[in-house]
Symmetry: C2
Subunit: 167 residues, 2 copies
Amino acid sequence: MPPHSLQHELGKKHHFAHPEEEAYLNLIRTARVLEIDSLRLFRPFGLSEATYNALRILRGHEPKGLPSQMIGQQMVSAVPDVTRLVDRLCGAKLAQRRRDDADRRVVTVRITPKGLDLLAKLDQPLIHMHKAQLAHMSRAELAELNRLLFKARHPELAAEGTGAPRR
Amino acid sequence: MPPHSLQHELGKKHHFAHPEEEAYLNLIRTARVLEIDSLRLFRPFGLSEATYNALRILRGHEPKGLPSQMIGQQMVSAVPDVTRLVDRLCGAKLAQRRRDDADRRVVTVRITPKGLDLLAKLDQPLIHMHKAQLAHMSRAELAELNRLLFKARHPELAAEGTGAPRR
DNA sequence: GGCATGTAGTTGTTGAAACAAGTATATCTG
DNA sequence: CAGATATACTTGTTTCAACAACTACATGCC
C-alpha cells in the first residue's frame, strides 16, 4: 500500500473495491478538512458556514435584496429552513426582512450596513486562508480539480462540454 | 460566462477573484450534493453519515474492537464527541462497550452481530449508489480526482510524491 | 365569486454537533 | 510513594440542522 493514500489514512484493514467509493470518501474528507479553517475564521464573529454563505448571497443581491426562497436555492448546500437562518441574521442585525407588497407571501431579505461591514472584514482573511490552504497546488491542478468537481456533481452535462473522452 | 460553471450556479453577480476560492466552494458543494444520496440511503435504518462511518470503522477492527479515541481519529471528519456517538450505537444494539482491564480509562468498542448484519445490508446498495453517482466519470478522471483531492488536503506532502511538476 | 390547488414562510419538535468542564485512571518525578 | 501532570472518557449546556405540520396568500378553474 502506498504510504500517502486514503487507504493508509483509513487504516490497514480498509480496502476499496471501487474507485467511485474512494472518490466519495476522498471528497467528503477533503471538504471537511478545508472547512475546519473556515469555521475557525467565522467563529469569533458568531458566524457559521451557513450564515456566512447566506450573507454573501445577500451582498450579491444588493440593493434589491431577495426572497427567502432564493437564498435557500443559492446556498452551497440547500438549507430546508431558511426562516430560522434569516432569524439569526436578523437577530444579529446583519439582515432585515420586509413583506413584499406585490405578493404578501414573499419576504424580501436585505443585508444591513452592519452585515456589509462584517463581510468586508472577512473578505481578505478568507481569501488569504484559501490561498494558504491550496498554495501547493499549481494553477493547472486547480483548474483540473475544478473541472472534475463540477463534472462530478453534474452527470447530466457529461455528454456535452469540453470534448474530453469518456471511457 | 460559460453556461456550465460554478459561477453560473451562484448567480450572475458572483465573481471569483481567485481559483483557490472557487476550488473551495466547488469542493464543499460537490461533497454536499453527493452526501444527500447517502443520507437518504442511511435514514431508513436510523443511521447518519457519522454513525455509519463509525460502524464501518468498527467492522474493520473485528474481532478485537478498538478504543473510542481511535474511532474519533479514523472518522472521515474527526468528531469531538465519540462518547455520545457510541452511546447511540449501543442504544441501537449495534455496538457494545467494555472497560479495558489493562487500562481502566479505556473503553473498547466492538460492533455487534446486529451491527454487522446492518452493514451487510448496506454494502451493495452503497456501492451501487457510488457507481451511479460517478458513472459518468472515466477511470482516468476518477484517478486524477482522487490524486488531486488527496493532495489538496496534504500540503505537507506536496514536495514529494508522483513526480508531477509543480508550477 | 368560490372552491381547489399551489406557493412562501412559519412554527414545533426532535436529534445531533460543538464547546467546555468534570471524573477516573495512569504515568511521571522527586 | 506522594503529588503533579497527562490521558480517556463522560457529562452539561447551548446551538443548529432536519423533518413535519401548519398558516397565509395567490392563482387557476368552474
